[in-house]
């Protein structure tokens, strides 16, 4: 059990990332592709937080516990992930704006039809 637990979180992160990539590459609708990209991002969050986890530890937030009374997990990876969650959402918005613009210019959001248009 414990040997599975040693790598399971990393494998889940890899699975989520690869699933997102597959959806991104086979998508027939650009809005769907943007959704798949956010799934890929979720994979990276899982990986980062899994690296920072420590058994039987708690969050390094000392508003309700005394410093040093309990072991704590790694705050550095959490800080990295936390900013990226919010910034990632605005980047998703930028991509959606591009998709809306493509729909206006070319009248389709299917990547295959778009490459045919270009010839």
């Amino acid at each position: 059990m414990s040997s599975v637990m040693d790598v399971l979180p990393y494998l889940v992160a890899a699975w989520v990332f690869l699933a997102g990539c597959y959806g991104l590459a086979t998508s027939r609708n650009l809005v769907h592709a943007v959704g798949c990209l956010s799934v890929c991002q979720a994979g990276t969050y899982v990986l980062l937080l899994a690296v920072g986890y420590r058994d039987k530890a708690t969050a390094p937030v000392f508003s309700d516990i005394k410093p040093g009374s309990r072991p704590v997990v790694d705050p550095v990876v959490q800080a990295l992930t936390l900013t990226d969650v919010v910034v990632g959402a605005t980047v998703t918005a930028l991509l959606l704006a591009l998709v809306v613009q493509i729909a206006k210019r070319h009248g389709t959001v299917d990547p295959d039809e778009l490459s045919e248009l270009r010839g």
Partner: protein, 150 residues
């Protein structure tokens, strides 16, 4: 053995698993109801986790989910109003059952905390959660009937 953690694990595994199944399959009306119930089930789960880890500050997560979860459902209810009007979801039994589960979890937590500021916060979260989900259910079953193209 930490009973709170056990309760949280069981409720999250069962509740979110069922919600995921509901949102993955079936007609649109079933999927929106499942999305609404996923927040209604996850919020008590988060509150139970806060108690299990002995960290009152984790309650903020439950507070934000109780506030924004129903807002998310309102987004779907409003922007899918045309599709839902043809085939409105009717899941009042399920909604009230889940609301009852949430109320039970909040009551148990309040008893465990005892009268204090933390208990007031828990009660606020519980009230927001239950009212939010009942209203979101109402919105899904025809709350935006007069909205066309807006």
């Amino acid at each position: 053995m930490n009973g709170w953690l056990l309760a949280a694990t069981v409720s999250l595994a069962g509740g979110l698993g069922a919600a995921l199944w509901g949102v993955a399959t079936g007609p649109l009306r079933r999927r929106v109801v499942a999305q609404n119930l996923s927040t209604a089930l996850a919020c008590p789960g988060l509150l139970l986790l806060s108690q299990a880890y002995g960290r009152p500050s984790y309650v903020d997560l439950g507070l934000v989910l109780a506030l924004l979860g129903p807002v998310g459902t309102l987004v779907f209810a409003r922007l899918l109003a045309d599709e839902l009007a043809e085939d409105p979801p009717r899941a009042w039994g399920l909604t009230w059952t889940v609301a009852g589960l949430g109320a039970a979890a909040v009551t148990a937590l309040c008893v465990a905390t005892g009268p204090s500021r933390a208990m007031v916060k828990l009660l606020v979260v519980g009230a927001l959660l239950i009212s939010g989900n009942v209203i979101a259910s109402r919105a899904l079953s025809g709350g935006f009937r007069g909205v066309r193209g807006g």
